[in-house]
């Protein structure tokens, strides 16, 4: 398997010179990123330890206030559930797409991308019309006599999960699709040929081979979920308060910018921490489509 492509001599010489020239080429971008991204980011970190007064008071509030703990717990719970459900559904969809005929696969991909492009507000209000107290589903079920009281799909945590999963499924499908496309079908044939059952082939060969795609999908969905604002605010009926909405209220309404900055730093640290932990278990470059292990 260890097969290193031979690099022609000329190309090798080129590689020797590229780094210096390469750095020069990306320098403008680096300056832009450092100035426009890291600058404000540093400012947020500074605010988190200086507003309203210097010190770690904002961070201490994490341990003293039940409210903050509650919000973080809600956020974590909703995000983990969204990730688990979206990745599971996404896995099924990607698997079906891989094994469909090319024409059907194109149709499926188009449908996926169309839903990808619909604005989050439109989706959110569509769910209300569909699953609200007076929505199509509840009215339909009442009309055929299956229920007497409307089912509470919306304006609670279930509503938030439905809305978020719907938004996130395409994000889960795309990395999984990319990962599944690289699997050599002959490996599976070999597994069956050597006596493994279909289930064994799936669990012991196919699933491990798609692990980088699974991790990529889960990371992508989880990190995007952390920042969700509109969907929880509307479908949660005000009762599902997630950290993004709370940060916005602290900035715009209560003017507790220190608390908002502290929570933002905490989220950033959480995501970086998550990436670090993942990197202990696997090569992250494979997850993001870099070099092969």
């Amino acid at each position: 398997m260890a097969h290193t492509p031979a690099i022609p001599l000329q190309a090798r010489n080129m590689w020797r010179y590229l780094p210096r020239g390469g750095w020069l080429l990306v320098a403008p971008l680096m300056v832009l990123v450092l100035g426009l991204f890291l600058g404000p980011l540093t400012n947020i970190m500074v605010i988190s330890v200086t507003d309203p007064k210097p010190g770690l008071g904002n961070y201490a509030a994490l341990f003293q206030s039940d409210a903050l703990g509650g919000i973080l717990w809600t956020t974590l719970r909703v995000c983990v559930l969204t990730t688990a459900i979206s990745v599971t559904l996404g896995y099924c969809i990607a698997h079906a797409m891989i094994h469909a005929l090319a024409r059907e696969r194109n149709w499926m991909l188009s449908l996926l991308l169309v839903s990808f492009w619909i604005s989050v507000l439109v989706r959110t209000f569509s769910w209300l019309m569909l699953l609200g107290r007076n929505g199509l589903v509840n009215n339909g079920l009442e009309a055929i006599g299956l229920i007497t009281q409307p089912i509470e799909f919306m304006r609670n945590e279930l509503g938030v999960l439905i809305g978020m999963v719907h938004y996130m499924v395409p994000y889960a499908v795309l990395p999984l699709l990319a990962s599944m496309q690289t699997i050599d079908a002959r490996v599976l044939a070999a597994s069956r040929n050597l006596g493994a059952s279909p289930a064994q082939t799936f669990w012991r060969v196919y699933l491990p081979l798609t692990r980088p795609g699974l991790v990529a999908a889960a990371l992508l969905v989880f990190i995007l979920s952390l920042g969700f604002y509109v969907t929880p605010a509307i479908l949660g009926g005000g009762k599902v308060l997630m950290v993004a909405e709370y940060i916005s209220v602290q900035i715009l309404v209560t003017l507790r910018w220190g608390t908002a900055a502290m929570l933002a730093v905490l989220m950033l640290g959480g995501v970086l921490g998550l990436l670090f932990v993942m990197s202990r278990f696997m090569k992250l470059s494979t997850v993001f489509g870099g070099t092969k292990p």
Binding site: G70, G132, L252, V253
Partner: protein, 369 residues
């Protein structure tokens, strides 16, 4: 919002390039067409070249047309200064950020009087010039150093006549009594009005509400939490009622009439014990149009015809006592300061909210989530 901002910036850059001769006229006109020139000219930041004008920072929707006709037209006729709009919503945090950044683009904000208390004491606002603006043209106590109330809006509730037709609810006590009046409720998410309603329901007299007893109010809010959902914007409050999600819903009073019409009278507005909120004009420190011009604008907003037209157009109630007697008869049930309502509503204390918003809002969010 972001693409709007992007279009604005593209246009400004285009205008600069055209002026400097770097862009052909045809190209520039094509650019205007692509960016939707009509929409962009209404936004203040695109028209940076125009010097004398007043930018009103408000909440969009119909208010652009209404404020433009009611206040903008007579003001421009009298002073020659045009009125422009920024409709992105002047929340306290945004005003603070704008003043702190030194890039002040708005002259007057359509805010709350408690914003004037909170941001006035932190030095983010220009003082109102009471040589130009008239203290007597608003309710007593609503002409403050850094803001003056030019309209009143309110927190009232609507109920489903089909659910409670024979014995309709008439007070916040009824609103919070889910045993006697079973059904879902909706309340405002950011504490204002909801806290006062809870205290009145718990037996506090409407003129003895302040300082608010937060723990008592929050306990009352929690008592109907399982039957409540919460809204964050006027349109959300409206749709929760119109879509039949709730049997009783707290709404901004000025939407009451629309809701009655949209539901063919099925939902009815109750003005008893409504909480009157002083909507105020406040001026960010260092406003581009200068203090003199903006004070004249605020004075124009106090005039009786302007106030009556705003009531007609948006349902915002006049704060100038001279206008009270001239309210149209068919609008009186929906106005806070009409003869039939003025003595049965409660009045918001901007000083308490200006100093306690953070605790009240965070306490409320913790209670409902």
């Amino acid at each position: 919002m972001q693409d709007k901002q992007f279009m604005r910036e593209t246009l400004i850059e285009g205008a600069k390039a055209y002026k400097a001769g770097r862009m052909q006229r045809r190209t520039f006109i094509a650019l205007l067409g692509m960016a939707g020139f009509g929409a962009a000219t209404l936004s203040p930041r695109a028209a940076d070249a125009a010097a004398d004008r007043i930018v009103l920072w408000n909440w969009g929707g119909q208010s652009e047309e209404c404020h433009g006709n009611a206040i903008g037209k007579p003001f421009t006729a009298a002073t020659g200064i045009p009125l422009a709009f920024d409709t992105s919503g002047p929340l306290q945090g945004k005003i603070k950020e704008m003043v702190d950044s030194g890039n002040v683009t708005a002259d007057v904000c359509d805010g709350d009087l408690f914003d004037a208390v909170a941001l006035g004491q932190t030095g983010h606002l220009e003082a109102i010039d009471y040589d130009v603006v008239d203290r007597a043209k608003t309710l007593p106590g609503y002409a403050l150093d850094f803001g003056v109330s030019v309209i009143l809006y309110g927190y009232a509730f609507v109920y489903d006549t089909k659910a409670y037709g024979d014995n309709p609810p008439n007070s916040w006590a009824d609103f919070f009594d889910t045993a006697k009046f079973p059904g879902k409720r909706s309340l405002y998410k950011w504490a204002n009005g909801s806290l006062e309603a809870a205290l009145m329901a718990d037996g506090v007299a409407k003129d003895a509400l302040y300082p608010l007893d937060l723990p008592r109010a929050l306990a009352k809010i929690k008592s109907i939490k399982d039957d409540s959902i919460y809204w964050g914007s006027g349109s959300e409050a409206h749709s929760m009622v119109v879509n039949g999600e709730v049997s009783m819903g707290m709404v901004w009073q000025n939407r009451g009439r629309n809701i009655e019409q949209d539901t063919d009278g099925r939902y009815k507005l109750v003005m008893n014990e409504a909480l009157a909120m002083p909507g105020a004009y406040i001026v960010p420190r260092g406003n581009p149009g200068g203090r003199e011009a903006v004070m004249k604008f605020i004075a124009a907003a106090q005039s009786v015809p302007a106030q009556l037209e705003l009531f007609d157009c948006l349902g915002m109630t006049p704060s100038n006592p001279e206008a009270f007697a001239q309210l149209p008869t068919d609008g009186q049930p929906y106005a806070i300061t009409s003869a039939e309502n003025i003595n049965r509503v409660a009045y918001n204390d901007p000083h308490w909210w200006g100093n306690n918003t953070d605790e009240a809002v965070n306490g409320f969010l913790d209670a409902i989530s």
